[in-house]
């Protein structure tokens, strides 16, 4: 056995992220690691790659106990993580990237290119070593990143969602490379949400849920349905939805993104529509394009190229990343909440402080933003309260259609339920609400209808009643 992790535990504050998890890996094996968001996959792999220490548990490599104090430590043991976001330097050549961190002080490029060619040929990649990484496709970059791990004498490769950004053809090449590595003593941990892939190229699949090991299955003797059941595991108890009646059609929107030529979605009054899918499925691009952000859309009246256009039509987006897209961190609660209604609270270009304060205190109260101090700088708030400020800013514009992209990412359970209540209330008031989320549980809790995205297409439309299991099955491609 190449690797054995035993009884690994880890907690963050009061949250138990991992609880006595065992995981092992054989040489020449591809071992899949699956689980819903927050199941503990990435924490386990951060511990294995030396990025975080475990609270408890042991790791042994070829039967010998090791301790991993840093990423460099892990790399010295041949454990290398190939990240979801690529970590190549775009302006350096393929060869320079392959040996980055291991280059001699004065580089002999002829020799470097020769070595690089050998490594590339070894993994079946035909690339000019002198080419800048920037010029390569995302898929080629992914392959170079794996080649680099091998060049650094990687024995254990951790691939984190390697196909998220790849086209079908690029995915095939990646699989060929992985197959090619069998018989060379390398072990691969394969993290993915896509069960089709897992059943094609992996030998075993380990399921984590809520930080616990649920099962390690031989792929040959387990069904996708069984794996989905293991991932889901339980009935939803946490959030009970309210009774709603879906109203008439509010709008039909045509959407165009860089990858989706044409998609039409119907938005109904009082309905919460969910967009489900893994990272890279097209879900995220669709919701931003509806807002004229990184894509175009047409709501029937005119084309929306800019968020301004959408806002004027009564549409507002709560973006997925509140720190980089939702908030101006240097400004306070009041200034952020009023940011999208500056024209409404101004007369002759001058802000009317009374009107502003009324608006802001109203939203602080209705969303129970804590602390309820308008002058508090938003970077001092918790994640959940920051998100409430973004939602307050959106609602202050009195939108007819509210778009929410990953509305509860990094939000604690309490604030999450408050946001769910708010979203339901809005639907009851007759708004059209669209929620895009990688959290299937969230969609099941909230939505009347869910569109499931896979590889830039809507693969199915689910309407209530539908189960958590169903959503996960479609999202992961088990169905």
């Amino acid at each position: 056995m190449l690797l054995q992790m035993k009884g690994i535990s880890k907690h963050f504050g009061g949250v138990q992220a991992l609880q006595e998890v065992d995981f092992d890996l054989n040489a020449n094996e591809v071992h899949a690691l699956v689980g819903e968001n927050g199941a503990g996959k990435s924490t386990l792999m951060k511990i294995l790659s030396g990025a975080q220490p475990a609270d408890q548990g042991s790791i042994s490599l070829a039967g010998e106990n090791i301790s991993l104090r840093s990423v460099t430590d892990a790399q010295a043991h041949g454990i290398i993580m190939v990240f979801q976001e690529l970590t190549l330097v775009p302006d350096l050549s393929v060869a320079e990237n392959l040996f980055l961190g291991h280059l001699s002080r004065v580089v002999n490029y002829q020799a470097l290119y020769k070595q690089a060619e050998a490594i590339l040929a070894d993994v079946g990649l035909q690339l000019e070593p002198s080419r800048a990484v920037r010029e390569l496709s995302v898929g080629e970059q992914q392959l170079v990143a794996i080649a680099r791990a091998l060049a650094q004498h990687g024995k254990i490769l951790i691939l984190d969602e390697p196909t998220a950004a790849l086209s079908a053809a690029e995915t095939e090449r990646l699989f060929e490379l992985i197959e090619g590595l069998r018989g060379r003593g390398v072990g691969i941990v394969y993290i993915s949400h896509r069960l089709e892939e897992i059943f094609r190229i992996t030998d075993r699949v380990t399921v984590l849920r809520d930080g616990k090991l649920i099962a390690t299955n031989e792929v040959a003797s387990v069904s996708t349905a069984e794996v989905v059941r293991q991932m889901v595991g339980r009935q939803l108890q946490s959030y009970s939805r309210s009774q709603r009646r879906v109203g008439a059609t509010l709008a039909k929107v045509d959407i165009q993104t860089s990858k989706i030529a044409q998609l039409n979605i119907e938005v109904k009054a009082g309905e919460i529509l969910g967009l489900a899918g893994v990272v890279g499925s097209g879900r995220g691009e669709v919701i931003t394009a509806m807002f004229g952000y990184q894509g175009h859309s047409d709501w029937g009246k005119h084309r929306v190229h800019e968020p301004r256009d959408a806002i004027a039509d009564g549409i507002f987006l709560v973006p997925s990343d509140r720190k980089t897209q939702g908030l101006v961190l240097e400004l306070n609660i009041r200034e952020n909440t009023a940011l999208a209604i500056l024209p409404q609270i101004s007369r002759g270009g001058i802000i009317q402080p009374k009107t502003e304060r009324q608006q802001v205190t109203q939203w602080i109260k209705r969303l129970s933003i804590r602390p309820p101090e308008p002058e508090k700088l938003v970077w001092q708030l918790s994640g959940g309260n920051q998100q409430k400020v973004v939602v307050g800013k959106a609602l202050a514009t009195q939108p007819k259609i509210l778009l929410l992209d990953e509305p509860t990412r990094g939000v604690d359970v309490g604030a999450r339920h408050e946001l769910y209540d708010m979203i339901e209330q809005l639907a009851l008031q007759g708004l059209g609400v669209i929620v895009s989320s990688s959290d299937s549980e969230e969609l099941v809790s909230l939505c009347d209808r869910v569109l499931v995205f896979r590889q830039q297409k809507v693969v199915t439309e689910l309407t209530t009643p539908f189960s958590y299991e169903e959503v996960v099955a479609y999202v992961t491609g088990a169905r």
């Binding site: 004027a312 897209q325 908030l327 101006v328 240097e330 400004l331 200034e335 270009g349 514009t397």
Partner: protein, 316 residues
């Protein structure tokens, strides 16, 4: 960390600049018997007015996360145009208005390229710095313009209610800038764009228009400074304003405005400009060689920033 310590560093972060300024004034009052005289203090204010005007415009640009290196050259061009037209027989008030208009137009040129072509402001205004200087030299043939009408002299040297006109202009522009930044939706938008352009765009703020405005406003500020300088020298020099952009940026930064944008205010800049002005004046009174003056000035700027950084780091 004890409560007293927290309070102390908090006070230092908030009032450190004011305290440093007062300490400097106090020290100079002891070191030189002429420093605290009314005529000298008015002189300091008058000398500070030009840098302060440039720095007020610069504050607006920097809060929007930009930078304007062209203000010194822009000042020179607006100055020679106003002077040239006046000497050519235009009525003084028209020549002055034309100078202001030229400032706004050149500032708008910077702003249009930064905002609509999305080119880094450092590069755009660096180009502006040499282009506007070249335009000034072409316009004047490299010679100063002299024989300005009375109105210019009044603008630069006369007094009203005991304060020199340039000081009134500076104070007026200070209040105008503060009003825009603090009380208008445009001002709020400038902070938002400078703090997080993406979030501003997603909130429906017309980002390009806001950025455009900040550079046009800096152009107006430079033109005002140009007119004051014309009046003070009673002539327009084609080399006027060389290097002024650096003093203006120094005043903004010493005044606590972040070069990353989204943070700062114009009163801080005013204080920053006063510190630089008092420092220059004090060193002249104490007969410090102008060679050493440069070193001292740079040192004070660094010290101001270090103190602020240390205080705010402690506070977090």
């Amino acid at each position: 960390m004890s409560l007293a310590r927290v309070k102390w560093t908090g006070l230092l972060a908030r009032y450190g600049l004011t305290l440093a300024f007062l300490a400097m004034v106090l020290a100079l009052a002891f070191l030189s018997d002429r420093f605290l005289s009314v005529s000298n203090l008015l002189n300091v204010l008058r000398q500070t007015s030009i840098n302060a005007l440039l720095a007020f415009g610069m504050t607006v640009v920097i809060i929007g996360a930009g930078i304007d290196l062209s203000v010194g050259s822009l000042l020179a061009f607006a100055g020679v145009v106003a002077a040239g037209l006046a000497v050519a027989g235009w009525p003084a008030y028209l020549a002055i208005l034309a100078g202001l208009l030229v400032g706004v137009i050149l500032g708008s040129f910077n702003g249009a390229i930064v905002a609509y072509f999305k080119i880094a402001p450092f590069i755009v205004t660096l180009a502006g710095l040499t282009i506007f200087r070249g335009m000034t030299l072409v316009y004047t043939g490299g010679r100063p313009i002299t024989g300005l009408p009375e109105a210019f002299y009044v603008l630069g040297n006369a007094s009203l209610l005991g304060l020199p006109i340039p000081v009134w202009i500076m104070l007026g522009f200070l209040l105008l800038t503060h009003f825009i930044l603090r009380f208008t939706s445009l001002g709020r938008a400038i902070y938002a764009v400078g703090g997080n352009e993406e979030a501003a765009r997603l909130s429906g703020i017309p980002v390009a228009r806001v950025l455009f405005f900040t550079y046009a406003y800096a152009g107006l500020a430079s033109a005002l400074a140009a007119l004051v300088l014309d009046g003070r020298l009673n002539s327009a020099q084609p080399t006027a304003g060389t290097g002024f952009e650096l003093d203006a940026i120094a005043a903004v930064v010493v005044g606590g405005t972040s070069l990353f944008g989204g943070k700062g205010n114009v009163f801080g800049t005013f204080l920053g400009a006063l510190i630089i002005g008092v420092l220059n004046n004090g060193m002249n009174l104490l007969n410090v060689s102008s060679f050493y003056q440069q070193i001292v000035k740079g040192g004070v700027i660094l010290a101001a920033l270090l103190i602020e950084r240390l205080a705010s780091a402690r506070n977090q």
